[in-house]
Amino acid sequence: MGLSDSADTRLSQEGAATVAADDPAMAADDRSGVLVAPLQTIMNWARGHSMWPMTFGTACCAIEMMTVGSPRYDTDRFGIFFRNSPRQADCMIVAGTISLKMAPRMKLLYEQMAEPKYVIAMGACAISGGPFMHGYNVVNGVDQIMPVDIYIPGCPPRPEALINGLLTLMKRNAAGELSAAQRYRLETEGHL
């Protein structure tokens, strides 16, 4: 599985970075009816208060990611709870450099996750390839492989920055905004 296969899932950074908040038709999800609307409210509240990232790290940013779960930063306060199996995880924190060999495995893990799923690109390497950008085996940004919801700059970002990124994602969920994957599907296939 080469990277050329995933060219169709290529998503521009600008596309992922703009939030769908200014587009009410997208945010409201046109299925909302008498019964669905309160359900959607409850669901948004739940998604805004519970976020289980997958225990998955590829490089040195993962050290900061682990620190986030430690007593000092304690993400459990916000309902952020690391879960091992991709089937039960909500979001994937891509913490570190993605080599060409790792990329298909990471995509496989992403595809094993259950919808709605989110991707956080943590650190310079996951955003753009970072200091290893010109390496012969380095993916220049994880958004070349899968749709990214949140970019966290830094090399590596501080734990506070990662917490801020996760909280931003949860706030978006609470506001009922679509994930990057959902927006991508809506743009390309016309449905969620």
Binding site: W45, A46, S50, P71, D76, R77, N84, R87, Q88, A114
Partner: protein
Amino acid sequence: MIALKTLLGVVVIAIVVLVNTIVVMWCERKWLGHMQSRQGPLRTGWHGALQPFADAIKLLGKEDIVPANVDRPLFLIAPIIAFIPSLLTYAAMPWIESFVGASLDVGIFMVFAITAIFPVSMLFAGWSSFNKYSLIGGFRAAAQQVSYEVPMAVAIAGVVMLAESMRISDIVNAQHGLYYIILQPCAAILFFIAMLAEINRTPFDMPESESELVGGINTEYSSMRFALFFVAEYINVFTWSLIFSLLFLGGWNGPLFGGWDGPLGMVWLLLKTYAVIFMVFWVRATLPRVRIDQLTALGWRILLPFALASVFITAIGVFTNNFVLIVLEVIATAALVWLIARIGERAGEARRSEASARRCSDGSAIIPDPGSSPGSASGTSHTEVGA
């Protein structure tokens, strides 16, 4: 009319159990947080009290994945088989003398029989998932729960002999003034250890050993099906803690309003139950996971002989008097505690000598030799971090 009353009773008991289950989930995250010098959930409701609801509703809204190649019927039915028996136990479980589903003559036997279905669901889940980690988890669950049911049943036998009844409310009423944890300390400790294995809590959380088996039997389950396993597990924590407080801690008896057949009796019972649950989480925060061979060795070679000895001692006590019973039981308890402590000590010595054997001749650096020690007790009680 009777059918309506029964239906109402079922609904009330199910609600009481599920509310308590949610409280147990919240307690675990808060207590575990504070034990690990964290704070636990804070932002969802009052001190994170709504966190279990947020998690459950979020899981409900997730995609329900049935992976390719799974054994479809078993895969779909396994979470239901886990969930239903865990609620079904409460059919025979008294809360107070008058608030009980069915006060059966063989109450404790029936509860025990229903809980024996739980490992079957785990075996189903492990087998059907088409995943090596799930399968290992399922086999571990079967091995663990079958081997720990034996000492547990024998430990209960002593209680039944003293109360001369298997009806749970009779057992509780027989403890008026003198709880069985005083008459049966050895059986109580055995029951508590076996209980930890039955409800898959650390140090015996073999079916879901997160640091070695990804998610164990849960690995392939997403959405609602995972939530059912999750809830069933916490219902079981509550169930077994309730059974412990009914059998050994005097149930609804208490120094104040003791044995009163009213809400205060239930308050006593719940206080005792939550004390036991606190112990369970305390153990979880303290001890690392044991290996599967250590687990089965403990079950068959230590717990079972001591459980049989406890029954023998109880038989002597029934024919003589309570004083003889207490003295003999305390001696047995001391022996049990000494033996378990000795095992831990010897494991530590073995680890230390192994480590020193791996040192260089100058005694400084340690040569990494992963082959020589197949998994010295690994795992950590802090399950949230890792990569």
